[in-house]
Amino acid sequence: MKKLLLTALLSTLSGASAATLVFGGNGEPVSLESGNITDGISILVQRQIYDTLVDFKNGTTDLMPGLATKWTPNANNTSWTFTLRKGVRFHDGTPFNADAVVFNLGRWWDKAHPYGFRDQGRTFEIMGELLGGYKGDATAVIKNIVKVNDSTVRVDLNKPSSVLPNVLAAGYFGIASPTAIKKEGAKYGTPASKPIGTGPFIFQSWRTGDRVTLLPNKVYWGEKAKVDQLVIRSIKDASQRLNELKAGTIDFANDLTPDSLKSVQADKNLVAVKRPSFNVGFVALNNRNQYLKNDKVRQAISMAINKKEIVDAFWNGLGVSNASFLPPVMSWANSPKVPADYKFDPQAAKRMLAEAGYPNGFTIDLWYMPVSRPYFPTPKPIAEAIAADLSAIGIKVNLKTQDWAKYLEERNKEPGFDMYMIGWTGDYGDPDNFYGAYYGSNASDDINWNPANVQTLLEQGRAAATQAAKAKVYQQLHEITYNANYRIPMVHSNPLAAARTYVKGWIPSPLGSEAFNTISITGKK
């Protein structure tokens, strides 16, 4: 019995003395295998364990060295050479070098890679999506991945791309230890395995459905972690994350609802943290609809919606209205020739509708999503507000919704939805990641509008070597899409996060996840 008590006492003491940083995640990671997963919480946990070749400067979408210290294109952007950091080792002792990079890129890109485990359900679909396809595909951006020497890797492309380093900087593409993947086989990335990267934290354990525990990497090549232990808990419910923050059982958390801002501000133990905006919530208008085909009708709709009022009402100051399709950090790619957005003017909208031949308006469906997303936290009341604005100019709106999976599927099937709400959160700081996703040749077919000049400009944008050249291309795209007006940008939201006051040095990335090695805690009880 004495021994029991002593053990208990010791376990209490050891628990209390270690500086443990606890994050409230909005769920459990799906997998800790990089390249094969796209959900936010998996990426966030991976971000602690793995490094990417190229990284983003804290709190921005600007590039900085990661595992590669330098990346240089050839003259026409059809080949990129990455110079790798020397002396870095994976958590299991495996040296990081060109072989490791070729192995990682290879298994994502090559469908026949022996360690890709595609026959066992691996898909690596994000690689195909951001880089046009896989090895041998006609649309694939990457042609070949070559080891030049131990610390140099060259990636040859099928078509010019200036965004390859940006893509590889996205949180999906953490470089993992080849030794670990070969050893663990197809179970790599599940709770039964040990994910191994070069990142600031080392994987310790994954309690299914509950938490992932990480320890600091004492020999990290970059800024070393300042806590003794990092625990990422899975707390699915947003109001429960707030409860946990208030009770002090977690130290910081993401993805709180905008309406909890007041409650956070009223708590002297908490600090509200606004994540920089890197998303767009918009209303898509479908060209297959007889009314929406008409340019003037679309303009009338744009002018009739009071975006500022809606954003003020439903985002609690955590959003920007009157903006283009691109989030504010990329405003350099907006054209000075057109306004960011159509001005709210119900009178003009009414006149426009009459000119279009519908002085008495018409009836149309507006679909709103059944789930809360960062860009539309409360879709239903927002849809009701849009409907009210449209009814003021005579357009009667039927509000509709359905299950999320069905919603995403139906929008892409003919005839699709007349008008529907959707949005996008970016992966890396290039306009192509926004325009390409919704206007590109592989984009969803929700609006039935796909002119050739837009495709040409998107290609030129991807090939453009300098930011000035890029800006020129995307400004034209901005003008074309503004005038066509098939997607009405409603908001760029700042997802709400919060931390206990003793959490210092947290610099949230606009991209949604960042490494927690910059965080220190002082005075936590």
């Binding site: 769920g27 299914t208 997303r373 999976a405």
Partner: protein, 342 residues
């Protein structure tokens, strides 16, 4: 008795096979396909089609004329009969691994909820019956009405806010504080912590269990209180109770020994039925309290259309409910000697 048991177990097996077929067809009939759900906003028709192909979801359900064995159901059943429930479509985690890790959490919570419901509900029902039409009776009836009508998720959030945030007595959610770690033996945290001599961790696990158990137990509590009350009233009016009283037996002995034991039969039936209801209630309770059990996991899988997880979860839940009902049936015989199985 032995042959009865064997017959019941065989019947359970048949039920399981039937359920596997029903759930297979059912999950594939829910509109919306897994590939689209996984890709989210990124789901273009091409990307969804490619993913569907890779996951084998483009294959026919039951029969592939080109290759009879290359259809989804024969493959699934072939694996199932070898004890393989498949792996989560996206996570690649074997469904059985997840079940094994999560079931003890759900079981621990359900047992605690049932204990809470029994320990409060039965005495309340007995008291209400003995003091019929008194203040106690009215109170018990009102509380049980409120208990049945209150949405579990709302009660859960309310409990968490009041007892964890406002009063700071108990943790708001989760199964164990981050200061502790318990190496699993049985998967039941409190038990494992005690077995490993971590009394502080056991205490912490118990503290985490209280609020979700109350939330999950509220409806069974209300039902048990009501059934106990009406069953007690029924029994108290019987001749043998009157006889026992007339014989001059003590009040306590009459109510506890003679009346309560006989009044328990319907209560036990309800407990059996509640085993299924508890699994259902666990979906909400586990989501609200971040409880790493089966309920929240299957719930998530349904929204993601993760077929293998939904199938595995449903089959497993059906097995648990069948076995719970078997135990209930067997305990009838223990409670009432007139009931015999042959």
């Amino acid at each position: 008795m032995g042959s009865y048991l064997i017959r019941r177990l065989l019947r359970t097996l048949l039920v399981m096979l039937g359920i596997s077929l029903v759930v297979f067809v059912f999950v594939r009939s829910i509109p919306g396909d897994p590939a689209v759900a996984m890709l989210g906003e990124r789901a273009t028709p091409e990307a969804a089609a490619a993913l569907r192909e890779q996951l084998g979801l483009n294959k026919p359900w039951f029969f592939n004329p080109a290759n009879p064995l290359d259809a989804q159901y024969p493959k699934y059943m072939g694996a199932l009969l070898q004890g393989d429930l498949g792996s989560g479509l996206k996570s690649n985690i074997p469904v059985w691994d997840d079940l094994r890790a999560r079931f003890p959490a759900t079981a621990e919570l359900s047992i605690a909820a049932l204990l809470f419901a029994l320990l409060i509900g039965m005495p309340a029902g007995v008291l209400a019956a003995l003091r019929r039409n008194s203040v106690w009776d009215n109170l018990a009836t009102t509380i049980s009405l409120v208990g049945v009508s209150m949405p579990v998720f709302w009660l859960g959030l309310l409990l968490s806010y009041f007892f964890a945030v406002k009063l700071g007595w108990l943790p708001p959610s989760g199964r164990l504080g981050t200061d502790y770690d318990i190496q699993p033996i049985t998967g039941f945290y409190i038990l494992d912590a005690l077995l490993r001599g971590q009394t502080a961790a056991a205490w912490d696990a118990l503290r985490h269990l209280i609020l979700p158990a109350i939330a999950l137990g509220s409806i069974p509590l209300a039902i048990i209180a009501r059934i106990t009350r009406s069953s007690m009233l029924d029994v108290l009016g019987q001749d043998y109770v009157r006889t026992a009283r007339a014989k001059g037996l003590a009040f306590r002995s009459v109510t506890m020994k003679h009346a309560l034991r006989n009044a328990l039969l319907p209560v036990v039936t309800v407990i059996g039925l509640q085993a299924g209801a508890l699994l259902g209630g666990a979906v909400l309770t586990e989501t609200i309290f971040s409880w790493p059990g089966i309920g929240s996991w299957v719930y998530e899988a349904i929204s993601q259309r993760d077929y293998p997880i939904i199938q595995g979860g449903v089959i497993f839940a059906a097995l648990v409910v069948s076995l719970a009902n078997l135990i209930v049936d067997l305990s009838y015989a223990a409670l009432d000697p007139r009931i015999q199985y042959s």
